[in-house]
């Protein structure tokens, strides 16, 4: 798998893969200056791999939620979460097992679509329930929101048309709800 370096210096992979040994950590933090640098710096320093990272304010004021997809080949999850807990700004960590969580991601891409090709791209977007959000003479920008695996497939098919630019947000996730339980994530507390 091709590896690149992201801006934080943490190692990242540029594609997801179905068999990847990944886990999703949903990290609730105090929204203080530098908190993202603390989290990404920790991953970089301890040699943990990040596949993707998304951050935005959470439901409670002064809190943000960071969704990190970690590569478990680089370090055991237990060490990663314990080290994260040591950051003073980290309030809670939920470990989201991919099979027990809902994951979403957004992709936008500009592809070549001169003349009749526009219809092909448009059909493809329709099949995936994506949207055409901008059209120029020989280019079209499409967007798709959904499960990251679905985005992978869409990206593959778009590739045949020639992708000019592409941006994905990295995944966000929450625990899957079912009838019996309100909360299916494992909230990790400091061990005794």
């Amino acid at each position: 798998m091709a590896r690149t370096r992201d801006v934080s210096g943490a190692r990242t992979a540029n594609t997801y893969s179905a068999d990847m040994n990944h886990h999703i950590l949903s990290v609730l933090v105090q929204n203080r200056p530098g908190v993202l640098a603390r989290v990404s710096g920790l991953f970089a320093r301890r040699g943990y791999n990040i596949f993707s990272l998304a951050v935005a304010p959470a439901e409670e004021e002064g809190r943000s939620r960071i969704t990190i997809v970690v590569d478990l080949d680089s370090a055991p999850l237990e060490q990663i979460t314990k080290q994260l807990f040591k950051l003073i700004d980290v309030i809670k960590i939920s470990e989201l097992d991919p099979s027990r969580s809902v994951e979403r991601e957004l992709l936008i891409a500009t592809v070549k679509a001169a003349g009749p090709k526009l219809a092909d791209v448009s059909t493809l977007a329709e099949i995936f329930e994506g949207k055409i959000i901008a059209v120029a003479e020989d280019l079209v920008t499409v967007s798709l929101e959904g499960h990251p695996d679905k985005l992978d497939d869409f990206e593959d098919l778009l590739g045949r048309h020639g992708i000019v630019e592409l941006q994905r947000t990295g995944r966000v996730a929450l625990p899957k709800l079912d009838r019996s339980s309100r909360h299916r994530s494992t909230a990790l507390r400091q061990p005794h």
Partner: protein, 590 residues
């Protein structure tokens, strides 16, 4: 313009080590209730703060200016982080409006120190300062102690404000993600007590956490209750008296043979405030292969980081040890019998008899042995003497040959291994304990890194004593080159019997300088040094450059591949059931 920080800091500390802070600060501090020790280099301020914290248990405070002042503090911050020393650094910063503009003496202090502090913070206005400082002290001194840093821009320092100290509750409420667990889990504590009573080959593996938790008394109670031998790591020297019959001394790379072997062959390591450092374990896969592990540590991340414990207990060492003692007593009262450890204990006695710490004494008229110097320093030291050391062979000799019988008498740089640590750390220790004798044991390499702080010792009237073991080499590195690189010596000869002249150097800084070249001069020189209490004394011992530190477990080797002192390598005496060949082709750098 008022400076609120220095006006109010005395409510928290009585002493700070610093260097030209943001302009307004110093006069206030000097006239206020806080003593300000003016160092000669910011690294000195940091190590002095560490030395102060080491011996007093109170947080050491270093206060320095922005830019280069802050960057000079990085080494001590990392040192304190590695050795879990409570320390608060306060750094000046350029005015808030100038931040990010590459202003004169601006640097990204919080960025640079993020990975060498437990927590750090840049405050952006005056009214944030009290909370930031309270949090810095709270975080530095609770849970696993460590260094914290508050970066204060010049305008934030001097703007008008209503000063207040937040209450403990307010401080905690502002830190919802920081709840150190100090009480061990009762079920795990019970489990530990059972394992201890069932063990036939127990060893207590005591680390620096014992000292941080002020648990030396509790440790002794536990050890005597279960009648098991103790090893004290480099960070824990003094946590259990060396003269106690159950003390095996230091384990690890240069530990003594019985401590290493006892750990290696034990069936239960009762690990208290220690972290399975690579200098202790050697090759992890080969470390104490038959031992079950009880691991008591206040930092949950240490559990399972290196060696998976059978019984992990996250909590304050003092609290947990007392609870384990209570559980053991309950079990004993309930009729549980402790397993028979007598065979194990006699095995240990055998090793101790056969493999004591040893060196070859000087021949008459021969070169001075560094180990002998340490023994003599120890012999003449008044009760309660504190010893600080640099990093290298002299550090290992000190740990090996000084008999530590009291906690908080040993100050050293363990995790980071910072050359130059001893002199400033000794000054900090002296500032905390002015009535005690403080010896800094230094190497000629280390001395040349921070000796400039002897000026501080003289002018601030903090008279320490320096034992400079001058072997003309970066001795520890020389030893590695000798043993593992076929004696291909490279860049390790310092020529320090010629340059500098250490006695003159000492005298130029207001100290008494004494040169010792032969074994007969050692005792009288030390006695003379001990009799001078109003000035710093530097005793330079010219020692045998070819001397090496033994025993030694080569880096990356398993602990069974111990290299004994050449005089002990008699094949009729064995430590191991089956001695393994030693791999001398190890390339790991020190």
């Amino acid at each position: 313009m008022r400076d609120y920080v220095s006006e109010h800091l005395h409510e928290w500390v009585d002493l700070i080590f610093g260097y030209k802070q943001a302009l307004h600060l110093r006069p206030h501090v000097i006239h206020g209730a806080v003593r300000h020790v003016l160092v000669r280099h910011e690294q000195g301020a940091g190590h002095a703060a560490e030395g102060y914290a080491h011996v007093s248990g109170k947080p050491g405070v270093a206060m320095v200016t922005s830019g280069p002042g802050a960057t000079n503090l990085v080494t001590p911050l990392m040192d304190a982080f590695m050795d879990s020393i409570p320390m608060v650094a306060i750094t000046g910063q350029v005015p808030t409006a100038a931040i990010g503009s590459d202003a004169f003496q601006e640097c990204d202090t919080v960025g640079i120190t993020r990975s060498c502090t437990k927590h750090n913070e840049l405050v952006m206005s005056a009214d944030e300062i009290p909370m930031a400082i309270r949090q810095a002290f709270h975080i530095a001194t609770t849970g696993r102690p460590g260094p914290t840093l508050v970066d204060i821009p010049k305008d934030a320092l001097t703007n008008e404000m209503e000063w207040y100290w937040p209450t403990d509750e307010e401080v905690q409420a502002a830190l919802p993600g920081y709840r150190p667990n100090t009480k061990g889990h009762p079920r795990m504590i019970k489990e530990a007590a059972k394992l201890i009573l069932a063990s036939e080959r127990p060893i207590v593996y005591a680390g620096g956490g014992i000292l941080k938790a002020r648990a030396a008394q509790a440790l002794r109670e536990l050890v005597e209750l279960i009648d098991a031998h103790v090893v004290t790591t480099l960070m824990a020297r003094g946590a259990f008296p060396d003269e106690h019959p159950l003390c095996l001394g230091m384990p690890g790379m240069h530990g003594n043979a019985s401590a290493i072997t006892a750990m290696q062959q034990s069936d239960l390591l009762i690990t208290l405030g220690a972290r399975f450092d690579d200098r202790i374990t050697g090759k992890v896969d080969a470390f104490a292969p038959e031992a079950k592990i009880i691991h008591v540590d206040v930092d949950p991340a240490e559990q399972g980081k290196v060696r998976r414990p059978d019984v992990p207990i996250v909590g304050d060492a003092n609290y947990v040890i007392l609870e384990i003692i209570r559980e053991i007593k309950e079990l004993l009262q309930g009729g549980t019998r402790q397993a028979d450890t007598s065979a194990w204990k006699s095995k240990i006695s055998g090793w101790r008899e056969q493999f004591p710490m040893t060196y070859e004494p000087s021949e008459p008229g021969g070169l001075l042995k560094p180990q002998y110097c340490i023994e003599q320093l120890n012999k003449y030291a008044p009760k309660g003497t504190i010893v600080a050391s640099g990093v290298g062979q002299h550090q290992m000799y000190t740990s090996q040959y000084w008999k530590f019988n009291d906690p908080y008498t040993w100050v050293n740089s363990g995790g980071l291994g910072t050359m130059g640590f001893s002199i400033p750390a000794a000054i900090g220790a002296k500032a905390a304990m002015p009535d005690r004798t403080v010896w800094a044991v230094d190497g000629d390499g280390c001395f040349q890194m921070t000796a400039t702080e002897l000026v501080t010792a003289t002018l601030e009237k903090l008279p320490i004593k320096v034992a400079l073991l001058n072997n003309s080499f970066l001795g520890m590195v020389r030893q590695w080159q000798e043993m593992f690189y076929d004696e291909r010596y490279s860049s390790v000869f310092l020529d320090s019997a010629n340059v500098p002249n250490f006695v003159m150097m000492a005298e130029s800084m207001g100290c008494v300088g004494i040169l010792v070249e032969s074994p007969e001069e050692v005792g009288p020189a030390i006695e003379r040094a001990n009799s001078i209490n109003d000035r710093t004394v530097v005793v330079e011992f010219r020692t045998d450059a070819t001397e090496g530190v033994f025993p030694m477990v080569p880096a990356g080797a398993g602990n069974s591949e111990l290299i004994l002192h050449p005089t002990q390598s008699d094949p009729t005496r064995t430590l191991q059931p089956e001695p393994k060949p030693i791999d001398t082709k190890l390339k790991d750098a020190h």
